[in-house]
């Protein structure tokens, strides 16, 4: 009897050694450690760091998208590296150097294609999501015959991708149903589009312009109507300030009919009425906004700022159109990401080497986690959002 129970214990012990506890991936995420070329794998339920994956190259301005099973992250590095990271095994699954200089990427509707937006040589490359074998390439040569940098690459329904050409000032809509024969439709957009976003209903592709005031908007329900330019005079009468960091449009600053977006070269968040495409207001902020991100399930957006005002995060009520809270999470706040239902905000403070996790209702700091020069924070539920 006694020896039987010892045997049972031994069997249990061996079984425990042989198999990893099964776990879901819906509460996982990845934090880019900018300076060391590593990513941290984090989980948002217990708010802990599960481990680190190293060897991803130059990760300044790195971003990530996720496989539809939320197991793998595709990380786009500045040095042109595209790395497929296994979040469960916490190791690199595949890695290719696909360009000299890269800016970001997207994953197709069906999850089978990963697209990378490149600066040098400017264009978009498409890869098999399983193997990272290249399947197509679209060089970004503008109507002027010159190469352009690609910005604002997002996915759109129907295995389409949309991106903008910085120098050429164009927006390209690419249908990739047959990867061997990409169908490209090109639109003139305006001077120097710097980034773009898709609205939560996947109807609007909105590109911010750096070279002039205004936005370029493509209606994906009516692409035949072309790109229209809106808010051409949002900065009229004001002095444009030097821009020490390019704003980003990634994240949803959408609340009701409003899109909240960073004003270029101004200490303002713009409130845009997306039904009439007019300016519904401007909110004075602590600096030049970089990210304006909607807090899921609320009427608030959270904003971080460019150098030298990058110690501050402000929370804006989109209905009252005013700042309701000013936070100082640490030095050089680069990014923020909400848990999918918006109860927590994770903020990266690069020069404080930490992540700060807030309760979005009370603004209480729930936890800080050490992180080496953290920048982008990406949670797996992005896998199921169009245009992220």
């Amino acid at each position: 009897m006694k020896s039987a129970s010892v045997l049972a214990l031994l069997v249990l012990f061996l079984a425990g050694c042989a198999s990893v506890q099964p776990r879901g991936t819906g509460d996982l995420g990845l934090v880019v450690e900018r300076a060391t070329g590593a990513v941290q794998v984090v989980e948002t339920s217990g708010k802990t760091v599960l481990g680190e994956v190293e060897g991803l190259g130059d990760l300044s301005h790195a971003s990530a998208v996720f496989s539809r099973d939320e197991r793998y992250a595709y990380v786009f590095g500045r040095d042109g590296g595209l790395t497929k990271v296994d979040l469960l095994a916490r190791r690199i699954d595949q890695r290719v150097i696909q360009a000299g200089n890269s800016i970001g990427g997207a994953i197709s509707t069906d999850g089978r294609l990963v697209a990378a937006a490149n600066y040098t040589p400017g264009g978009v490359k498409f890869f098999d999501a399983a193997t990272l074998a290249q399947v197509a390439e679209i060089p970004a040569i503008g109507a002027d015959g010159k190469p352009s940098k690609v910005v604002g690459l997002v996915d759109a329904p129907g295995n389409r991708f949309i991106f903008a050409l910085f120098e050429a000032g164009e927006i390209w809509l690419v249908e990739m149903k047959d990867p061997a024969h990409p169908k490209v439709t090109k639109f003139p957009a305006g001077k120097e589009p710097y980034d773009a976003i898709v609205s939560p209903d996947s109807r609007w592709y909105i590109a911010g312009l750096f070279g002039e005031d205004g936005l370029a908007v493509l209606d994906l329900w009516h692409p035949e109507q072309g790109v229209k330019r809106v808010l051409k005079d949002y900065g009229q009468g004001g002095q444009k300030l030097p821009v020490f960091k390019m704003p980003h449009l990634e994240g949803w600053g959408f609340v009701g009919p409003y899109a909240l977006l960073p004003a270029v070269g101004r200490h303002e968040v713009l409130v845009v009425d997306t039904e009439k495409w007019t300016l519904a207001g401007k909110i004075l902020a602590a600096g030049q906004p970089v990210f304006v991100v909607g807090q899921p399930g609320s009427r608030r957006v959270w904003v971080n700022f460019a150098f030298p005002d990058n110690r501050t995060v402000q929370v804006i009520d989109a209905v009252e159109k005013r700042v309701v809270k000013t936070l100082h999470p640490g030095k050089a706040v680069l990014h923020l990401e909400f848990t999918p239902r918006g109860e927590n905000a994770w903020v990266s403070a690069r020069d404080s080497d930490k992540l700060v996790i807030y309760d979005t209702e009370t603004f209480e700091v729930l936890k800080t986690l050490p992180s080496s020069s953290p920048s982008g924070i990406f949670f797996t539920p992005r896998a199921h959002r169009i245009g992220w």
């Binding site: 900018r34 300076a35 130059d58 990760l59 300044s60 301005h61 500045r78 040095d79 000299g100 200089n101 800016i103 600066y119 040098t120 940098k149 910085f166 120097e192 710097y194 750096f210 030097p242 821009v243 020490f244 960091k245 390019m246 150098f307 030298p308 030095k331 050089a332 690069r350 020069d351 404080s352 080497d353 020069s373």
Partner: protein, 117 residues
């Protein structure tokens, strides 16, 4: 080191002229070691948001010795201080003295030092 460098960046930004030692090997005024660390951090991290952490370029051009070869130091210093109108390059003169811009350009032309972490 990291924290100290940044604190001194802000402290010294106000009195940057006073912290230069008289002359360096190249005959230019040399920033103090603390200020140098702050400048290296500024270039790697904040200039790096457009030019890349490794300075191999991004939205802005590469700032490597080979890409800067043959360019006038004075014109590069002027670009750092006053920006380049018509491009996204902003003026940094609110954060840097002329001597500091000169030191940065000199380091870029030689191969920019890494951050001490």
């Amino acid at each position: 080191m990291h924290t100290r460098a940044l604190i001194s960046f802000w402290a010294l930004a106000l009195s940057a002229g006073a912290v230069f030692s008289p002359a360096g090997a190249e005959g230019v005024l040399q920033p103090s070691p603390e200020r140098r660390a702050a400048l290296i951090h500024l270039v790697r991290e904040d200039c790096g948001s457009c030019h890349g952490l490794t300075l191999k370029g991004g939205l802005g051009p590469a700032l490597l010795p080979e890409t800067l070869a043959g360019k006038e130091a004075a014109s590069l210093e002027s670009t750092v201080l006053h920006g380049r109108p018509g491009t996204p390059m902003p003026p940094w003169q609110a954060f840097l003295t002329e001597a500091e811009a000169r030191w940065i350009v000199e380091q870029l032309q030689k191969g920019f030092p890494d951050e001490i972490r």
